[in-house]
């Protein structure tokens, strides 16, 4: 029986090639998209789940005052609490703050110093080395698999020596372990250095994690430690209002409250909204696939209805007919699963590159996921066609030589729904694209055109001997160290290619710190602040509204003066800047010297927020320069030569500010690309459906067309008659989709402070585009039918 089913299945595929090819393409495209997106979404949603008991692992955080942002506590001693099973302290280094030297090559990886308990608290596994002992060895270094590959290729890394250097420390470390970092880890790093007793960094970047015992009550514990950092007013007078809190490791990834904290730890951030959008896209693709498959199966049922009737006359029972269908479906599922598994592995590298994760699920998982997706598409898609098979009686099917598709209203419903979904995606993708364009083209309020950013100077490592130096010796050493920045400035000034120059931080590179006006009833709150030097104003073209900007010779660096933006002025309702003093929680009181017009230093989802500009000179800060016309290449070469002279063996890196601004919109860009790709796929799947319907419908009407032509209908009239039905469906779909798309996109645009307009032409364009595609698809068939000689078609009968 199985043999018969299988044979019959393949014969059916052969005689209904279009349906078979259409079904296979629908399933392959649909399931491939869904499985790729699923892998990504699954990875995001299981973020950090690989740590055993990740819900019981907590990070300590602290707010210095109710309006401040979450940061890290100054002091926490987990040993004092019996609820805590184990804890680990991590010290993070500034990005680009570490150098690892191997074979003359210098790398600036990201990493941390960790207690020996690291592997007890976290679930990371070592692929080489013993987790129990590796962190006790003070000259050890543990590398991530990825970083180790980068350094040593396929050579055994264990026992290799590396020169390690941070600001206050340098030493030779031996590779003792290799740690695996799963793709669903929000915590990514290149190396771990065991905790050593001498100071390796700054206490403020020290993060405490602990693992709680069973039955731990977070709220109770938080209540208990709430004010634990305020009890030291003599040491930390700024902490008297602070609140200490816990964040579960499981919540770190999607928490937006911790954003400022994440900038100086190695935790990445996820976006639940984006995941929701991806889930919606997945659902739409799934529905479009199901509808299309259902559609094709309805047509297929028409084509095989007579065969079913013949089988029934010859003794087939209902279960034989269903058995036949099941075998056909299983064959299609197996075929598509094989194709998709191949396709998945082929596309995965591109996809990984695109979504910026490294997914590598085992092949059986891909196979399984796809088998599940395909089974659900086919099973749901077959419900309606199977009902139809049951509804028609055997004799009718035998008697009628033509098919009965006229009666199958369901087909129209599926096409309409399918096209409505395709419209939804199409309209959304145009709007997302428009929004992206708006943000990229938006005048930011400062000049970013052709400005190069480069870091030229790295401070030498801290000399531990310096603790014993006399005051004179210190001044002498300082003077010596100052020579290099001076040299840089002189060199840069001598480059004729440079038109304008400034040092400091990029307008995009703001940092959070707490401010409040001295007079009045204000609370400290964390606001964005920017380190500038006097040349910033001209280089970036800041528009001064009131007062003045910092001036060389007039203002001293780290002098107690600030320039604020309009938003800050409005924020506190400052009327007279000259009589307002702004207090900084750490640095004391500042006098406002000027107000600049708001510029967009952040993602355009938000209107410019208050910004405080301080004048600090920092030799390690970046240089910003603008070159004379056509001198850019020459200028970069000069700067590179200077860099190489100062930092031999180090890789020269530079960037253009405009590229960094574009990079801010990477997320939207990816979203837009995802939309476009999946819209095309949804349209393609829908086109397959329409094509097949057109093919079978016109075949059914061949005689009618013949009769009409004999009675004087022209080709155009026949085409019009045939296309009218299909167009009607597309138009109904359009009418259904428009309000839904309008609503959904207005909701989405609420996320942005600057929105593109939902103009009518977007909808018209989507409508026209789809209509043209549908017309082309259908006309291919209808033209053939309309131009056929009526004598032939009538003779057939």
């Amino acid at each position: 029986m199985l043999k018969h089913y299988t044979k019959f299945a393949f014969r059916n595929f052969r005689s209904n090639k279009v349906i078979f090819a259409g079904s296979l393409t629908t399933l392959c495209l649909g399931a491939l998209c869904i499985s790729l997106l699923f892998s990504y979404v699954h990875n995001e949603l299981t973020m950090d789940d690989f740590h055993k008991g990740e819900k019981d692992i907590y990070m300590m955080t602290m707010k210095r005052s109710p309006k401040a942002e979450w940061g890290l506590p100054y002091k926490f001693t987990p040993e004092d609490f019996p609820e805590i099973e184990g804890s680990v302290n991590l010290i993070f280094f500034k990005k680009d703050g570490t150098k690892i030297k191997f074979n003359q090559d210098i790398y600036t990886p990201i990493g941390m110093v960790a207690d020996s308990t690291f592997f007890d608290v976290f679930g990371f596994e070592l692929s080489q080395g013993n987790p129990k002992s590796v962190l006790y060895d003070s000259d050890a270094i543990i590398l991530s698999e990825t970083f180790s590959k980068k350094l040593f290729g396929n050579k055994n890394p264990i026992g290799q020596h590396l020169d390690f250097e941070v600001r206050m420390y340098q030493g030779v470390h031996t590779v003792r372990g290799i740690v695996k970092i799963p793709s669903n880890s929000s915590f990514k790093f290149d190396y771990i250095i065991p905790y050593v007793k001498h100071p390796l960094g700054y206490g403020r970047r020290q993060v405490s994690f602990f693992k709680a015992t069973k039955g731990f009550d977070k709220n109770k514990f938080e209540e208990k430690i709430k004010y634990s950092n305020n009890n030291v007013p003599n040491v930390y007078p700024q902490l008297t209002e602070s609140i200490t809190s816990l964040v579960s490791l499981d919540d770190i990834y999607f928490s937006s409250e911790l954003n400022s904290l994440k900038t100086y730890t190695q935790f990445s951030s996820g976006n639940k909204k984006n995941i929701d959008i991806l889930l919606v896209i997945m659902l739409v693709i799934l529905l479009v696939s199901i509808l299309n498959y259902s559609n094709l199966q309805i047509i297929n049922t028409n084509a095989v209805l007579k065969n079913i009737a013949i089988s029934k006359v010859n003794g087939a029972l209902r279960h034989h007919i269903i058995g036949q269908k099941i075998i056909e479906t299983i064959i299609i599922i197996i075929l598509s699963t094989l194709l998709i598994t191949l396709g998945y592995n082929f596309l995965l590298p591109w996809f990984n590159d695109f979504v910026r994760v490294f997914l590598a699920p085992p092949i059986w998982k891909i196979f399984l996921i796809n088998a599940i997706i395909l089974s659900s598409i086919t099973i749901i898609g077959l419900i309606y066609p199977m009902l139809i098979i049951n509804r028609f009686s055997t004799i009718n099917n035998l008697k009628k030589t033509n098919s009965i598709s006229q009666k199958l209203k369901g087909k129209q419903v599926t096409v309409v729904l399918q096209y409505a979904m395709a419209f939804l995606l199409l309209i959304s993708s145009i709007i997302v694209n428009n929004q992206l364009k708006l943000m990229l083209d938006k005048d930011l309020g400062f000049n970013d055109d052709g400005i190069l950013k480069v870091k030229l100077y790295y401070e030498p490592p801290f000399n531990t001997e310096s603790r014993n130096w006399t005051r004179e010796r210190r001044l002498e050493e300082r003077e010596k160290a100052m020579q290099i920045p001076k040299y840089i400035n002189n060199q840069l000034a001598s480059f004729s290619s440079i038109k304008q120059l400034s040092q400091g931080r990029s307008p995009l590179d703001v940092f959070p710190i707490d401010w409040k006006p001295k007079a009045g009833d204000f609370e400290f709150e964390t606001l964005n602040s920017l380190v500038v030097t006097p040349n910033h104003q001209n280089l970036f073209n800041f528009n001064l509204i009131e007062g003045r900007f910092f001036e060389e010779g007039v203002d001293k660096q780290r002098g107690k003066k600030i320039v604020i933006n309009e938003a800050a002025k409005k924020h506190w309702g400052i009327e007279d800047i000259e009589n307002t003093i702004i207090g900084n929680r750490n640095w004391g009181d500042y006098e406002i010297i000027g107000v600049v017009e708001d510029f967009n230093y952040e993602h355009l989802s938000a209107k410019p927020q208050p910004l405080m500009m301080v004048y600090f000179e920092d030799f390690e800060a970046e240089y910003f320069m603008k070159f004379h016309k056509n001198k850019t290449q020459e200028g970069i070469q000069h700067v590179e030569a200077l860099f190489k002279e100062l930092n031999p063996n180090q890789v020269f890196k530079y960037s253009f500010l405009s590229d960094e601004i574009t990079a801010l919109y990477q997320k939207e860009k990816r979203l837009s690309t995802i939309y476009i790709v999946f819209t095309i796929i949804a349209l393609l799947i829908s086109a397959i459906g329409l094509f097949t319907i057109a093919l079978y419908d016109t075949q059914r009407r061949i005689k009618e067309i013949g009769v009409r032509k004999v009675n004087g209908a022209s080709i155009n009239e026949i085409m019009l008659m045939l296309n009218k039905d299909f167009i009607k469906w597309v138009v109904i779909a359009f009418i259904i989709a428009c309000p839904i798309a309008y609503y959904a996109m207005s909701k989405w645009l609420e996320n942005f402070a600057y929105k593109t307009t939902l103009s009518w032409w977007v909808f018209a364009l989507a409508g026209m585009f789809t209509l043209v595609i549908a017309l082309l698809t259908v006309s291919w068939q209808t033209y053939n039918a309309a131009t056929r000689n009526p004598v032939e078609s009538l003779r057939d009968e």
Binding site: F8, N314, G315, A316, L317, R318
Partner: protein
């Protein structure tokens, strides 16, 4: 073998009610060859479908081999039909996707006959139908007469006691038609009961008894061989 009493079939659509069969009493004995004649729409095919258990009567009783089957559900009817009734249609009704061999195999598969046994039975029946040389062909590669012979082979392969033929020569030229009628006669002589619907007087003449149907009623019965009645 076939015994119907006041067999009535009514087709209903939204606003029209058509009485296709009106109180038909028909008795067919085993070994008989009966032809049903009448104008288009008189209910011939409807009667044949009910006899063949493809359809149920609206009213009346139908006993097949002494068993009441008139009110059975479709799956039960299929069970009764299996192996007992063979069908031959005007339009052959072969499955285009299956070869000659596979078409003939169809009823045997549903009867769960072993593959080796099936092979023997199919070979034998196709030889008898003079189609032994065409077993790997597909229906579309055959002439109408050949197709009908395959259809007959399929109808008789499981040795059914009853063969129902719905205008078996309707799509054939006279030479092929004659051949098909000879085959049916031969099958009848070998013991099969045959009920045939036809328009053709010539074909009807092959039968023992001609029943004339008009507006769903039997109007005349002509017995050609009184020995059989």
């Amino acid at each position: 073998m076939i015994k119907t009493e006041r067999l009535t079939k009514i087709f209903r659509t939204e606003d029209i009610e058509t009485k296709a069969l009106n109180s038909v009493n028909l008795h067919v004995k085993e070994g008989e060859f009966v032809a049903i004649m009448g104008p288009s729409g008189c209910g011939k095919s409807t009667l044949l479908n009910i006899i063949g258990m493809l359809d149920n009567p609206t009213e009346g009783a139908y006993a097949f081999n002494g068993k009441e089957v008139g009110s059975l559900k479709e799956s039960k009817r299929t069970q009764e039909r299996k192996g007992n009734v063979g069908f031959v249609f005007q339009s052959f009704n072969l499955i285009d996707e299956l070869t000659v061999y596979e078409n003939v195999e169809l009823p045997l598969i549903y009867l769960k006959i072993k593959a080796s046994e099936r092979k023997r039975m199919i070979k034998e029946v196709l030889e008898r139908m003079k189609m032994g040389h065409r077993i790997k062909h597909f229906p579309q590669q055959l002439s109408g007469g050949q197709q009908q012979r395959v259809a007959i082979a399929r109808a008789v392969v499981a040795n059914p006691k009853l063969i129902l033929a719905d205008e078996p020569t309707g799509n054939l030229d006279s030479k092929n038609g004659r051949e098909v009628m000879n085959l049916l006669t031969k099958l009848n002589q070998e013991g099969a009961t045959i009920v045939m619907v036809t328009h053709s007087d010539r074909d009807a003449n092959y039968s023992h008894r001609i029943i004339n149907l008009f507006d769903g009623k039997i109007v005349t019965e002509t017995r050609k061989d009184p020995a059989l009645v």
